[in-house]
Symmetry: C2
């Protein structure tokens, strides 16, 4: 059973409890995010090994490392998406980004890298929402600046390698209206103010734009919001890959869907990419020291990784005697997210994390610096190759005739 | 000084106070609406004789009977609109309708008849908002039914004789998006939940769609919401003719406008067209006995007027001795709204309202039945002549090159 609404998820910085909502992620008392507790509180499910095996069987390829390594670790009805897919039904993917800053960091790339894999593996269309309206309302930005950031971020997203014949990128300021607006209004009619306060923690001093926004993020979960893509496909299911802090939006959406005669969107949810200083929060674009940006140079990356929180020991005798504390080791965490090769990762785990290993913190930092530098440089090259015409092409309101091929 | 926000205007049917807001109009203890009190509470101004004289001078024609007779009786900054007009500036008109029913009643026609006069007298463009989204959210209607009613009501509005070269009619479901949506979001960002509750009386059990809607009704007050009509005319002033129950929306809009760098819209506000049963509320489309519909036959009108609340006396001796109580006499009220000829109206006032007059209730009812029947039949003929192509023409998103001619 899904946890019923409303329940209390208020932002409360005074609290010693962990806080996870779309605007704040912080662990209890400076510790780590307790994901089991989060799953329990949100009412989603842990992504079991058996589901990942099923993905492998259905797609005929090795599951993405983010699945193998538990970066995407929770879900809602992902099993039903696989059931439907197995029986020949198709679905579409929906993900998004709030364009609040010029430069993305590595944490931002994770959902897009994973979504690209899902698009390829399942051969399905994808809609990507750029919530420029949200960022205008939450941040001290003009409408024009929010729109500009949306287009800049679209370049980074396109650089992740999406298939233009299967992908529609849109900004809210561009796209809200018509069928999309009708779905916004339909969703809004089903959510009381009390419910919205319970889910999102809004207070009386919050502006009414914030109250309106959840319906904007809900609308792309329904195929009828995109008549140019999914005409007459009102029953097409939607799968949303996202970080788990977005769960409140889609809990609300799922609650509302049956009352509108729509399918509930399914979710596949990631943990947060940890900050350089440690795993009590997520990498934040507004704190330059917490993050490795896709615009960082090889030297920046090396310096940042060198200063990252380590679980290794300063003296080699301790390191050999005890092994590193991998749970606290940010360079190792990053390696376990981004290193492609499973057996090399296993080797590092053993030689660095266990007693009498041959590796120390310096070795791991060197290796992760190489891996991240390669990713960042590849991204930079790909982004530089994204032309204005490509941005236009991805954002054009158009049918996608080969979206399921 | 304009009354500052927030203040309490909550819907409270238990209250013995009069309630006037966009969703409810009811007088204190079954008495009459106290308009002086309303002006005082809302913080608008009474429309002084001197302003009406100024309208006559500026337009070079007799002011509309609704001005001469005090049907439009209150305003905000109408004087500033006249100042600007006198100095050669132009403005645009904005009015609207919530399409909740198929058949309009006479009260619904009043703002449109008056707006048509303003459009002709000042030679200015007009935007008419059909709030199908509002009616979907407040009433038990589907989106499709709300849209259908919007188009049906557009036919009635067009039948009032608007100039298609100066008039843009739009439905929210059609038109929300783009520049219009940006203004909605800008307005929303300036209004806190507490403020919205104070102005509109929303409670925690109201849905968030209601919280979003005031920004939809605010947006047409700003010319930048219509880039196809007013490109580069961001400073163009707006004058809103409406019934005074809509004042809360525009009080909010005016409060927000300077923070967005926009001009405050001016207002010219009417009293309510009284119900057949008496002047404690407004004519309501949902209560067939309270209203004369534009679809009523001559016989319907005759029957309804015969049953209307009268201030006359049953016995002719009393009538001659005392004269009728015109304040309570609905047929006379209707006559004073719709009879064109001032001297005939003055005659009726004297011969019916004063002692020793030659008229009784039957004479007045007969005369008002003639007047209303003529209006209704003229409307019916005009409405029948409105083709689908005309509706399309008024609702087409297009520039209006001769809008100020």
């Amino acid at each position: 059973m899904e946890q019923s609404l409303p329940y209390d998820n208020r932002i409360d910085s005074e609290s010693s409890e962990q806080v996870v909502n779309p605007w704040e992620v912080s662990a209890k008392d400076g510790g780590k995010i307790d994901y089991d507790k989060l799953i329990d509180k949100f009412g989603c499910k842990r992504l079991e090994e058996s589901l990942i095996d099923r993905v492998e069987r259905l797609t005929g390829r090795q599951p993405h490392k983010f699945l193998r390594r538990g970066v995407f670790f929770a879900h809602r009805d992902f099993n039903e998406i696989l059931d439907a897919y197995e029986s020949g039904e198709r679905f579409y993917l929906y993900t998004g980004r709030g364009p609040s800053s010029e430069a993305l960091h590595l944490g931002h790339l994770i959902p897009f890298m994973f979504t690209k894999y899902l698009q390829e593996a399942f051969k399905v269309p994808l809609v990507i929402q750029l919530t420029d309206d949200e960022k205008f309302m939450w941040k001290n930005l003009t409408v024009e600046e929010s729109e500009r950031l949306a287009r800049e971020n679209a370049r980074d997203i396109i650089a992740c390698g999406f298939d233009v014949t299967k992908t529609f990128i849109f900004s809210d300021f561009d796209h809200v209206g018509g069928a999309f607006y009708k779905n916004m209004v339909k969703v809004s009619k089903c959510v009381t103010l009390n419910k919205a306060k319970g889910i999102f923690g809004f207070s009386g001093e919050d502006h009414i734009g914030k109250l309106s926004f959840p319906a904007v993020q809900a609308a792309p979960s329904f195929p009828s919001s995109f008549p140019h893509l999914f005409p007459g496909m009102d029953k097409l299911r939607c799968l949303i890959p996202c970080a788990i802090d977005q769960d409140p939006y889609f809990r609300m959406t799922r609650d509302v869907a049956p009352r509108l005669g729509y399918s509930k969107p399914a979710l596949i949810e990631s943990s947060f990419f940890p900050a350089l200083q440690g795993e009590n929060g997520k990498m934040s674009a507004s704190d330059p020291n917490s993050a490795i940006y896709v615009t960082d140079t090889a030297k920046d990356i090396k310096n940042k990784i060198n200063k990252a929180k380590s679980g290794g020991h300063q003296f080699s005798v301790d390191q050999r005697e005890l092994g590193a504390d991998l749970e606290k080791d940010i360079p190792f965490k990053y390696l376990s997210v981004f290193l492609e090769n499973d057996s090399e990762l296993e080797l590092v785990r053993k030689e660095y994390g266990e007693k009498k290993g041959s590796m120390d913190s310096g070795n791991v930092k060197k290796r992760v610096t190489e891996v991240l530098t390669e990713i960042v440089e590849r991204h930079r090259r790909a982004r530089a190759a994204v032309t204005d015409e490509m941005v236009e092409a991805f954002m054009a309101v158009r049918p996608l005739p080969s979206m399921f091929e």
